[in-house]
Amino acid sequence: MEAGDTLQVKDGVDQETIDAVKEVSTYKYGWDTDIEMEYAPKGVNEDIVKLISEKNSEPEWMTSWRLEALERWKKMTEPKWAMVDYPEIDFQDQYYYARPKSMVEKPKSLDEVDPKLLATYEKLGIPLKEQMILAGVEGAADKPDGERKVAVDAVFDSVSVGTTFKSELKKAGVIFCSISEAIKEHPDLVKKYLGSVVPVSDNFYATLNSAVFSDGSFVYIPPGVKCPMELSTYFRINAENTGQFERTLIIADKGSYVSYLEGCTAPKRDTAQLHAAVVEIVVEEDAEVKYSTVQNWFPGDENGNGGIYNFVTKRADCRGDRAKVMWTQVETGSAVTWKYPSCILRGDESQGEFYSIAIANNHQQADTGTKMLHLGKNTKSRIVSKGISAGVAQNTYRGQVNMHPRAKNSRNYTQCDSLLIGDKCGAHTVPYIEVKNNSSRVEHEATTSKVDDDQLFYCRQRGMGEEEAVALVVNGFCKDVLQALPMEFAMEAQQLVAISLEGSVG
């Protein structure tokens, strides 16, 4: 097979899929966009990797970086230690590249983007016009102009559709663009940092991602700059049988600050789809990064058909002293979640925080948690994990806290709470703790509870329906984490908690 012009256009979406999408579902992002796409042929091999690189008009160094990753990946096997169980994935039976035809000639501005694509994001409530604000933010309209600005990079299947507020951000010295653009426009920064936090050979999925990633976001905040607005990336998988392999790289230079939001959805489909992302964050001296995720990939139907297999490697490296990073995640979607956003606390007095809500309903399986690697002196980490299981779902918190010999006087506090709805689901807590010096302290608290019938009755006596009552009680259970979210996401997250638990009682 030859790379180059061998792109094939897939036939229109088949009737079965359309029907599946139409089916009544509580997943409200399950519709798809009927748009002409071009695909790379199925499978992953040298030609495909070269093709993706070529589609992105990448320089040669990038192509060889990818090819090296592919060579390594071929020798690796899928990790099996997580508490998730799914059918064998045929990695050669996937599309690794899909882009809307209208994106072949990259539009110069959002005005030139295919209206169908813009409509997709509008329907999702994602503002791609700069005067728009995020939908669903209570009171946002009352805020004075500018206060609620959120810049958005919109990624549709394998490509970035566009990025808002670029020029305003540029004035502040902030670079916010798609990673494919950064590779071309800012090669020195990309060369310096790409793969420096998550090495190419880190793990099976990260290595695969290194070979085939197609797009994602790039952020650089120069020294001393507080990013003037929230940055966000919205990932939408639309095409069928297509994996999304995004790559995000965030660099917060000395003394800078940025808050970054990530959201994701996908249409309802019968067959499972692969998503393997890598996010790397570099935090220099005195810099601070907040990274929030609302992960709402299609979870599969009530019987466990379809859904996204979400294998994600996210890691932040606090390289400088007093660097700070905070991960907040609301994981409600995906059929399978395998995700451990981690902090390397290399700088002295650096701090890592991880706040997580993971909901698994119906047949969903979540194995998620964090790693706190304390290398510097006086480093601090805090983990707050709230796992909610309903239906026949399995929810595992897997966390690792490591205090290295040099990490004197370091502290970790872990709070890990599980809530069960019904008696067919499971919650598991797997903490690994390793302390190699005697001045550091690790605290771990874990609780498991059930949604209490008395609480539900109390709410219902006051007039709430059963599902509303469950949502209220669960939102209360998650409060510590919801509070850690930026306002833009907190409302959405609360509603999402309610929606993803629909059908979990009664």
Partner: protein, 251 residues
């Protein structure tokens, strides 16, 4: 308004009858008190009326304004105006008291086909009602009943009742555990809600509360039945002589 007819109730889990033929009618605009020894079935009656799970109604009926409510979900009964002030109010960690109130109020409004209350109207209303019950803004923000003292929990129940403006209010030992001043606050809260359209069923062990809330009718419940009904003087009799004479009389 509330018409309980020969109500027989047993536990779902064990074969044990708790209510053995309760007959009771509360007319709009009246206050009925129920007294009776521990374990006679007063709380069970309040739970069954409000639709709690775990009980089997084996005979009899309950009508609220002419509708049979026994097949309705708890929230449907609430929307029809049935309110229960719990003997032991439930704690809901992480859920702010105001959020809870607003969610409840809007749920009821929605069920009745009314518009949601605006944020400003709600705030004004809740502040006004809370002030009369001496509930400060801190308590309004705290999670529902978490860390509240016994008396605070009871006042909070009355606040919810005042906000929801139910048609039939069932108070299960709302006076227990209250100091003298709190008791007056609660009684005033109840009296403020008294009107010709609203009925009350007040479960209590003490005459004290009934000094402030003058009942129209007093019922004595024993072993799952109303064994005697009368005027306010019946409560005084219990206060002075206990239940033994009444129980003997009934058997």
């Amino acid at each position: 308004m509330l018409k309980i007819n020969n109500l027989h109730v047993s536990l779902e889990d064990e074969d044990k009858e708790i209510l053995k033929g309760v007959d009771l009618t509360v007319d709009a605009g009246t206050v009925h008190a129920i007294m009776g020894p521990n374990g006679s079935g007063k709380s069970t009656l309040s739970y069954v009326l409000s639709g709690k799970e775990g009980y089997n109604v084996t005979d009899g009926s309950v009508e609220l304004n002419g509708d049979n409510i026994m097949d309705l979900e708890p929230e449907e009964r609430a929307a029809l105006g049935l309110f229960l002030a719990f003997q032991y109010p439930i704690e809901i960690p992480g859920v702010g008291n105001m959020t809870f109130l607003r969610t409840a109020l809007n749920a009821q409004r929605k069920a009745r086909g009314e518009d949601e209350i605006s944020a400003t109207d709600f705030l004004r209303l809740v502040r006004e009602k809370a002030a009369t019950l001496k509930i400060d803004s801190d308590m309004l923000k705290r999670p529902v009943n978490v860390g509240f003292s016994g008396g605070e929990k009871k006042r909070n129940e009355i606040l919810q009742m005042a906000m929801l403006e139910p048609k039939i209010c069932i108070l299960d030992e709302t006076d227990s555990g209250l100091d003298v001043d709190a008791m007056k606050l609660v009684a005033n809260g109840v009296n403020a809600l008294r009107n010709e359209g609203r009925g009350f069923l007040v479960i209590t062990h003490y005459q004290r509360l009934l000094d402030h809330i003058k009942p129209d009718v007093v019922h004595i419940m024993a072993d799952g039945k109303i064994i005697k009904s009368g005027g306010p003087e019946l409560a005084l009799e219990v206060e002075n002589n206990g239940y033994s004479d009444l129980l003997d009389e009934a058997s």
